[in-house]
């Protein structure tokens, strides 16, 4: 037996004296280079510059402005349209429609989620509706919208609502259901009424999900809008960015097409990296609910 399971050897106890002398660096601030390298925004700017250089190089090598204009030609077209105010007008027009659709979608999503949170039938309704309509691309509804609402903004707003509503409602509802039971009991314990309970416990508790829903809804709405404008075109009020791209293509001003696309990309970047990121930093990241 003793051979199969030998006991560990007996060892004397040892006590050491510990001191920090001679270790060198225990803690020191990072150098400027290390700080810059750890700045996420700066790294992304470098990536953008590299991509722009590749674009420019390929465009020059191809030397065909009708197929693939260079980065510099796109910038020139962008600047020209910007100076004439054409691009600003188109952007402003698109934004106006977008905000109307986004806001209407959010209001409807709020109502639907409230109904779903209050009653079981409402929850079933929300789940069935989102399961049906969430996979349906908004653009697929465009022909119908044109028949129902005519060639105006009402049709575009209709498809925008469809783009925003389901993802926001789904995420908000999932967020509400995921609010920790402990927080719920804390809210009840301090005697919060139904309205106070929703605004002071449920909404902040579900905020990470709500924010995700808002972001997804925004991205869907933005894509849908540009696509819808390409089809709908302009009406009496003027045209949006999609229309600008479409028209530039028709008159074979390909650098302007690229300038229009660049504007779409830039606006997306601005909204994602400034508006939503700031909202995140001020809320869920500050609260340690998301890292």
């Amino acid at each position: 037996m003793a051979d199969v399971h030998p006991l560990p050897p007996a060892r004397p106890e040892v006590i050491y004296q510990v001191s920090t002398a001679g270790i060198g660096v225990v803690q020191r601030p990072l150098s400027l280079g290390q700080k810059l390298a750890s700045h996420g925004g700066l790294r992304k700017v470098v990536v953008l510059i590299v991509l722009a250089l590749i674009w420019e190089g390929y465009g020059r090598w191809l030397a065909n402005d009708l197929l693939f204009p260079t980065f510099s030609a796109t910038l020139v077209a962008f600047w020209n349209s910007f100076v004439t105010g054409e691009l600003i007008k188109a952007t402003w027009y698109s934004m106006k429609v977008l905000f109307q659709g986004y806001a209407a979608g959010l209001i409807l999503a709020g109502l639907l989620t409230a109904l779903a949170s209050a009653t079981r039938v409402g929850a079933d309704l929300l789940e069935v509706l989102t399961a049906m309509f969430n996979p349906l691309p908004s653009i697929a509804l465009l022909p119908l919208a044109m028949i129902w609402f005519g060639l105006g903004n009402a049709g575009i707003i209709f498809v925008l609502i469809h783009a925003v509503l389901w993802s926001v409602a789904l995420n908000t509802h999932a967020g509400f259901r995921g609010v920790s039971p402990t927080w719920r009991m804390v809210g009840q314990n301090y005697g919060l009424s139904s309205f106070g309970y929703v605004t002071r416990i449920l909404i902040p508790g579900a905020f990470p999900s709500i924010l995700t829903g808002l972001k997804i809804g925004w991205a869907f709405a933005w894509r849908t809008l540009i696509a819808a404008e390409l089809v709908f075109g302009a009406n009496s009020g003027g045209g949006g960015l999609g229309w600008y791209i479409f028209q530039s293509k028709n008159s074979l001003e390909i650098p302007s097409v690229f300038a229009g696309l660049l504007t779409v990309i830039l606006l997306g970047l601005v909204v994602e990296n400034f508006i939503f990121l700031t909202a995140e930093k001020m809320t869920v990241r500050r609260w340690g609910m998301q890292t």
Partner: protein, 262 residues
């Protein structure tokens, strides 16, 4: 204490049941006990004896299927700020509020006081638990022990008729837990609040409580009520208090085990 005085909290023949997916579970069966003002009343029992369920029933989150719970002779029907719960979970603090806001929120939500008063009282209780430096910190920047201190400060700031503590130190490491027990006793010395404390640790029950209710397991039934001075002393029967409690709680199982092994 003379038992002639009216109890603050009277639990009379309370049976509690809850439903799981496919069972109806009886958590406690006809449990009765009285708590008087300034008691440090401990409910002690093995896991599955329904002690947390009992505490939630006193909190008003669960209705008894039989029996009644009275606070100052008024029947308890729903949660209210006169009975504040301190949970075991660290996430009982709202992460979107700072330490100070968490306490002030409790005071304003219950309509007890307005903004400025609430802030002042919050700071006073933060000071009592020694966290003045962290008043403007968000909970996720605090350690587990600090979070529990804030939760206790929040409960005490409400100055409830009775403070309900559901294994508040169970998720802490042993050293922090011992320290928190001392701090709780010190706070009690200062304000003599009434507390109902649930635990499954015999040593914690002996240390914290002045009276200990012993519950049997599955479903919880009262096995006895025992007094404690806070020190694990040798009693009249020549046994340590903790040994006596262990014997009372587990004698059946010990007897079972010895028969199967014998």
């Amino acid at each position: 204490m003379s038992v002639g005085a009216n109890p603050l909290l009277a639990v009379k023949g309370v049976t509690l049941q809850y439903q799981t997916r496919d069972h109806l579970v009886t958590a406690t069966y006809r449990v009765s006990f009285d708590i008087y003002k300034s008691d440090r009343y401990v409910i002690l029992g093995p896991s599955g004896c329904g002690k947390s369920t009992l505490l939630k029933a006193v909190g008003g989150f669960i209705r008894p299927v039989e029996g009644e719970i009275h606070l100052n002779d008024v029947s308890i029907t729903k949660p209210g700020p006169d009975r504040v719960l301190v949970f075991q979970e660290f996430d009982q603090l709202l992460p979107w509020k700072t330490v100070k806001q968490n306490i002030a929120f409790a005071l304003t939500a219950s309509g007890k006081m307005n903004g400025k008063e609430a802030d002042q009282r919050a700071l006073h209780y933060i000071d009592m638990v020694g966290l003045t430096k962290f008043a403007d910190n968000y909970p996720h920047t605090l350690s587990g022990g600090m979070k529990q201190r804030v939760a206790i400060a929040r409960g005490m700031a409400m100055e409830p008729a009775i403070l309900l503590m559901d294994e508040p130190f169970a998720a802490l490491d042993a050293l922090t837990r011992a320290k928190m027990q001392e701090e709780l006793l010190q706070l009690w010395e200062d304000t003599k609040f009434t507390v109902l404390f649930v635990t499954h640790s015999i040593t914690e029950a002996v240390r914290v409580g002045n009276r200990i209710l012993l519950l049997s397991a599955h479903p919880g039934q009262v096995k006895g009520e025992i007094n404690s001075t806070g020190i694990d002393d040798i009693g009249a029967d020549g046994k340590l208090l903790s040994d006596r409690i262990e014997h009372l709680l587990f004698e059946q199982q010990i007897a079972d085990r010895s028969t199967t092994h014998g």
